[in-house]
């Protein structure tokens, strides 16, 4: 099934690999860093897109999970660096600077948060859902600002990137490789999910709730499951993002972050599997190119976003690959 979208997806994922490789041979580490940032933000978008695109759940609070992932990294790493035990019971735990463990904690923490936030928020729908997720995000944001044990609004800086067995994570290209592989795995997972029995039922609940109930499936638990998976992936992205910057702060939890993750998804095309990849790449490119034009570059960014929404419906992929075909 060689549709245009299919080829476009491969082209995109190849480009995301090729650009940093080229930058590596040309010794342009910053371009690698930008590509890493794009891959990580795309990962956050892939997470959101499971809730948003597949489940139709417009969450304006995903910064909460992104930030929780980030703080999971920051807190574990900070304790490991300062040799201050995180807790002494039931066993002594001194934090960790091993990425796999950090990711595990980030995923577990953000999934638990998504379970609680989702269980409460999914009682509402429509605009109310948008706003209640925003409210939970803001609660965590204000909490983090005043949580002085971990830096408050100053954030938490770790001096060196965490470790991954067998790799030198301080080398930009190796860290990129980690982010890229995780992104590809997440894309693979999201693709499988969309085609799975669960995906079928979830997307049906978005299209027609009555139908799903009438065949004996519960939309609420379908959505909650999707929300938890979505939050967990976004949380993993948060841990990686914090590691990219070697820094975590409440900014990661602000509603601007939620908005930006959502913009990646919409820019690329809602519900398109690779939409977040296209969206994140485009956004970072725009931010980077326009930033050089003038101090008032955000005007141009705004105009471009506006033009894309108004005239390129279905996002970037929609514009390039045409209208979405029926599934299956």
């Amino acid at each position: 099934m060689l549709t245009r979208e299919y080829m476009l997806n491969w082209a995109m994922i190849a480009a995301l690999l090729f650009v940093p490789l080229a930058a590596w041979t040309l010794d342009e580490p910053f371009i690698i860093t930008l590509a890493t940032k794009a891959a990580i933000l795309a990962l956050a978008g892939v997470g959101l897109n499971i809730a948003l695109g597949q489940g139709g759940l417009i969450s304006l609070g995903h910064a909460a999970f992104f930030g929780i992932g980030g703080y999971a990294m920051g807190i574990l790493a900070a304790h490991a660096q300062n040799y201050e035990p995180l807790f002494g019971w039931p066993f002594l735990f001194e934090g960790s600077n091993q990425m796999p463990l950090i990711w595990l904690v980030a995923v577990a923490a953000s999934a638990s948060a998504a379970l609680v936030i989702g269980a409460l928020s999914l009682r509402t729908s429509g605009v109310y859902f948008i706003m209640i997720t925003l409210a939970f995000g803001q609660m965590l944001y204000y909490f983090a600002i005043s949580w002085s044990a971990y830096g408050g609004e100053d954030g938490l800086s770790i001096w060196v990137r965490n470790e991954f067995p067998g790799l030198n994570t301080l080398d930009p290209i190796q860290f990129f490789a980690i982010a890229y592989v995780i992104l590809c795995l997440a894309l693979f997972f999201a693709a499988r999910l969309a085609r799975s029995p669960f995906g079928l039922a979830l997307a049906a609940a978005r299209q027609n709730e009555d139908r799903v109930e009438a065949v004996g499936l519960t939309p609420f638990t379908l959505r909650l499951t999707a929300f938890v998976i979505s939050g967990a992936i976004t949380g993993l992205a948060g841990a990686l993002f914090a590691d990219l910057n070697r820094f975590v702060s409440p900014t990661m939890l602000s509603w601007h972050t939620s908005g930006e993750i959502m913009i990646f998804v919409i820019l690329g095309g809602v519900g398109r599997l690779y939409g977040p990849v296209a969206g994140a790449a485009l956004y970072i490119l725009l931010e980077h190119l326009l930033g050089g034009i003038s101090d008032y570059w955000q005007i141009f960014l705004g105009l471009l976003l506006l033009l894309i929404v108004l005239f390129a419906r279905g996002g970037l992929i929609g514009a390039l690959a045409g209208r979405e075909k029926a599934h299956g």
């Binding site: 499988r192 029995p197 079928l200 139908r211 009438a214 004996g216 519960t218 599934h327 299956g328």
Partner: protein
């Protein structure tokens, strides 16, 4: 009649000053088609919703397969074997016809939390789905997008999805609406056979179909059942003629 598949007992439901159901008691027996008719605004939709579990009655009971299900939601009732078609097609419009049928099969199977398997390659789901489409005559349209179907085809698909659940009874809300005379005739024949599989509570405006099909007919007016009986009984019932058929003729 202890073996009624479905029974309502004195259902009452009000919306403010409007009493939409008034002591509604009816039952559905194995092997029958029980038609529910009544003018617009008589409270048919409200009654259907109480039976399906969308809204709770103010008082009274709903029993399914001999069990009191008044407190259960739509999902639980569907799982017990209530197969439902909607007045306004409730289908996943972006899906293909086959996907909608597979969704039904998935519901019937009751194991949706599998995250990796390709659902459209699962024979345990595809077979019942294809069978159901075949039975309603939609096999040739299996690959079409549901949104592109005609109105009548969507009604057929609704029935097919209900079939995939292998329900113990059907609750059909105006399945003939918008079908055209040929389609209506075909579906009438189909429902005629279907009652052997599971009884049908049929809400329908198409009087030809109702009188051709129904073993029993209940007439609902102003939230109240004014008569229940065979087609001949109802035709002969003066109150029904006055309250209902008379109005129909005038319109």
């Amino acid at each position: 009649m202890a073996d009624a598949v479905l029974r309502t007992k004195k259902l009452n439901k009000s919306f403010g000053a409007l009493q939409a159901s008034r002591d509604v008691s009816l039952d559905l027996r194995p092997g029958e088609i029980h038609a529910l008719i009544g003018p617009n605004g008589a409270g048919k939709s409200t009654l259907i919703k109480q039976i399906a579990g969308n809204i709770a009655p103010d008082s009274g009971k709903v029993e399914l397969l001999g069990r009191d299900v008044t407190a259960l939601d739509t999902v639980a009732r569907a799982r017990m074997g209530l197969g439902r078609t909607f007045q306004i097609s409730a289908l996943a419009m972006e899906y293909t016809v086959l996907q909608n049928a597979v969704l039904g099969a998935l519901g019937g199977q009751g194991r949706p939390y599998r995250l990796f398997r390709n659902v459209m390659k699962d024979p345990a789901l595809l077979e019942p789905a294809r069978d159901a489409l075949e039975r309603v005559g939609l096999s040739d349209d299996a690959g079409r997008r549901t949104a592109d179907l005609s109105h009548g085809q969507r009604r057929q698909l609704e029935v097919a999805v209900a079939l995939t659940l292998q329900p113990k009874l059907f609750l059909m809300d105006e399945p003939m609406a918008g079908l055209g005379s040929a389609g209506s005739k075909a579906l009438t024949g189909f429902l005629d056979d279907l009652r052997q599989e599971a009884p049908i509570l049929l809400v329908e405006h198409d009087m030809d179909a109702v009188f051709a099909l129904a073993d029993r007919i209940s007439v609902l007016v102003y939230g109240q059942i004014i008569a229940t009986g065979t087609a001949a009984d109802i035709r002969a019932n003066a109150e029904v003629r006055r309250a209902y058929l008379g109005e129909e003729d005038a319109a």
